[in-house]
Symmetry: D2
Subunit: 131 residues, 4 copies
């Protein structure tokens, strides 16, 4: 409460509209599997892998937050009209650069769609090697 | 994932430090039980009811979000040092004014502490009468 | 750059549409003229004094920030549809509670309209008495 | 009001501490000089070019906003401790992806340091070719 929708592997989903719905609302994390402590480490979060989300005034991706376990690392806010505008579709995407200090990160992302609420993705494990 | 901590009635909790920990991290919603559609309706969200949270540079309440069911209505962001500063304690608090359009609201709040992560409160039901 | 629009006293403005435009885009600060150091001090920021702003999906007040001189104290974010929705008008409004620690505050607010950009108001001086 | 600090070419500045102060507080925009309408266009904003900013609990870069003229395109929020932590220095950096629709963009960025307030950079012109 509020409901947080969780990503489901769409290869397990039958209906095309359902695949589209789940995929474009899920944040996907892209980063290297290993990081170095004290060095800048880029993490890209992109909405949708095979499908893309509308950029309509009343239906757009408002925000993406990047967490390491329970800890918020960074967040991005978007406004409608910057991904092509009404009737267009584009994958909202942001690249953060974090500097890890521990021995591993457990990255997740939480996104908000103005029509379909909060969505989170699975955990991406990153091993952090010490210098 | 990220973990979202849920409020627990502290009268059911034994340890004093545990009561303090739960209470000061929970957002509490204060508003009238009824609203009128189309009219401004104030909703106050306050962190802690009986206890208050530090305002230290490395430990403060960063944000409060107000939801109606899955829908984000408004959010507030705070910076450390504005609630009295290091060593002081004060209840982070914000009053939003929403204008309801449906027949009821199911309000919840989600807050973020820079040390103890996300916390949410129970649902507050508000009946909305039509004009 | 970005342009920041400044409030102009609308009694000095001739055209009705211009008065409306300026007034509804300006944040107005309401608070007591004096605060006590270490005590919670409510500050309300409201968009528009005599006029009110649309709440359309492509035209709404996205955010209000409250500053003390150059220092950001708190900020609020809004989403379209929470002030009555399309075709409706309501004054976006938020009440922050700050706990002053210095001897005076010089409050200003900065707001963002999704169609007409950044707007700021005049400074509100608040004397802070020590306990 | 609030004061917005503007970038000054540090090659025109004598004092080393002053160069450092200005450079690490200024957002710098990096992107291609030309974009295609309707296609994703990455824009990186980095704090500091030759110097870098602390990541202390009471002194860090809280946010970066990217504007096209008066229009906010996207914003990023940061928390202290994610750029290496206390005593460490790292350049806060974010890459947004916008999809331009007009014929040119006039990009600027506005950043906020929790100790030294708002800073903005010069305009970066981007020509947008139609498909």
């Amino acid at each position: 409460m509020p409901t947080i929708n969780r990503y489901v592997d769409i290869s397990s989903v039958d209906k095309e509209t359902r695949k589209d719905y789940i995929d474009r609302h899920s944040p996907f994390i892209e980063c290297a599997p290993q990081a170095k402590a004290g060095e800048k480490f880029p993490v890209t979060v992109r909405m949708g892998k095979e499908y893309s989300h509308p950029d309509d005034a009343d239906h757009y991706i408002k925000s993406i937050q990047l967490y390491d376990g329970p800890t918020l690392l960074a967040e991005a806010g978007f406004l409608s009209g910057t991904m092509g505008g009404t009737g267009k579709k584009a994958q909202a995407e942001v690249t953060f650069n974090v500097v890890p200090s521990g021995s591993r990160m457990r990255l997740t992302a939480l996104s908000y769609c103005t029509k379909h609420g909060l969505w989170e993705c699975d955990v991406t494990e990153v091993a952090v090697s010490q210098e």
